[in-house]
Amino acid sequence: MSKGKRVLGLVVALSLVLFALYGVAFATKVIKVGAVYPLTGDIAPTGKLCKEGVELAVDIINGKYDLDLIMARTEGIPSLGGAKIKIIFADSQGSPRTGMAEAERLITSEHVVAMVGGYQSAVVKTASYAAERLKIPYVLSDATSPALTRRGFKYFFRVNPDDVISARNFFEFVQDMEKKFNRKLRRVALLYENTEWGSKVAAQQRKWAKEFGFKIVADIPYYHGATDVTSEVLKLKSSKPDVLMHAPYVSDAILFTKTFKKLNFNVPLWMGMSGYLDPNYIKSVGKDGEYVVVRSTFNPDLARIKPLIGKVNELYKKKYGRDMSGIAARSFNAPLVLADAINRAGSLDPDAIRKVLLETDIPGDKILMAWKGVKFNKIHQNIYARYILVQIQGGKYHTVWPWNVASTKVVFPVPAWNKR
């Protein structure tokens, strides 16, 4: 046995023990809540926005704010002596395996009492599985795959609307547009990045298109790291759609916008989601992003009908120096709903929290979103959750639908590239 070998063996063994100890250490003094987001990898910018939303929510829970919002006027969790919430963030790297491992680590080593967040449906799938297995409540407000709430999980709740609702809202909107402008918009093109999320969105859209009697004229999945999307756009072009429904991440939203312009692809109604809502999108494409209609759950201009939104947006602006995006706002909800439940439960026992989550009935005026409230159904999906649609005008998002909350008139049809 050489000396080097023994020394190295010792070093490795020692560091493994230290690593292991690191995992065991740290007892809880505050109420720890775990959140797994993609903080590195190509979706990291979006993950950061989610993180900001969560952080602001925690500020509001822990501090005293004069806001008409649950948990705002009190400090911390009153029923637990004002205990503060602390979010432990972890990086999923956009990978389901890492998501699961990090969720497990948060639960078992950091001793978080509940989980929020996730963003990517594939990651939430495994992270929530870990939470379920370890019997820890998981309140989600930012991943949209319908499958997540259809697994019969006991501890898993979703505050935000899913892609079934999204797809239905999209087609409702197109119908409304047909009525408003008295023009048939029956030819629909589906364009989506082909990982779990995009392909599920498309599946729902196909289903609802049939239901509403629309015709799918193009159905195009693509790889979201593509270096070039000419062939995708050419396929779109030759299908001559009235409506484009696009499910991208932000990088591909940028690339497609540029390619639409380059190849002069014009569509009367250009609808998008997710990536189009990322502030990096408008920053990157500038004027070329005008008139896209984007699905959202939130928009600062809703302050007109709901002053709370303006106030929260001001807080956000103060903290991060820009308007609150729909992505941040969405992630903002879960910590509040969870904190409310912990407060009502007056306990950190998972089953107690779960029980009161089931009884949750938060009225619409106590939450940030323009919904009727938060109330979970049998599969733990918030029955009041729905989308709004915003349109990019003048480099900003403006609420255009549903008509009753709209702040701005929708521009239709989208002007051709050469007429802009």
Partner: protein, 288 residues
Amino acid sequence: MDTTNLVQAMVSGLLLGLPYGLIAMGLSIIWGVMNIVNFAHGEFLMVSMYITLGLYTFWHFSPVMSIPVSAVILFGTGWLVYRYIVSKVMSGPMLAQVVVTFGLSAFLQGLFLFLFTGNYRTVKVSGILSQSTNIHGVYVSYPQVIASLITIVVTLFLSWFMKNTMTGRAIMATEIDRETAKLMGIDTEKVNALSFGIGLACVGIAGAILSSYYYISPYVGLLFGLMSFVIVALGGFGSITGAVIAAIIIGEVESLGGVLVGPAYKYALVFSLYLIVIFIKPRGFFGW
């Protein structure tokens, strides 16, 4: 699929392929001279795109003006990377040579993520760089045309340089037979550093011009890098014209294949074509 769209797809394939060629050319020279695959190639493209972004942000350089700056910086980077990193593994096992560039690529990604966050950025272009033109229904964007023209110019220049200058001939000689070149008094270490520099300078040029129509992020290099490996292996290592021709073929397969077979499969088509060719000609079209 009507003819206009087919023609459009072919034109787009060409305009897509040529800039690939510029990136691949750099890889090809490095591969040919040192018999090393630079797996950090795509990351250097990323670096040059950030340089272009920086020049734009601070001094309002347009991407075209950034080309020489980016090329020079990348040339220097290549020289240094060779001297202080790659040369240390040249005599080691082949695996170490492969892996060192992998480490470099992860390092660069992490570094740029750390410095500039993962945000997607673009260089705002105006004038001709933001326009496209329409020829009988076929759309051609000027920045891509410029990128393609630059590729052709660089190809011609490098081919001339390799044949007609002392330095170029020294590089060629080293590429063909390193031992003999050494015996003939060529400083092969210098040739290596030079080739690495030239290889990265190609990427520097490509990155600068690519910035005018592509977004920038720390992860942007991955697929570009991968495509350039395939292109070089297809064209045959060390061959400059081989790289360009293979790049055009790849561009066409990607573009036409995407339209005819389905966009979801376009990269599968590209890689399959590569495998088929390599099974028949193990050293690529122009390999020896």
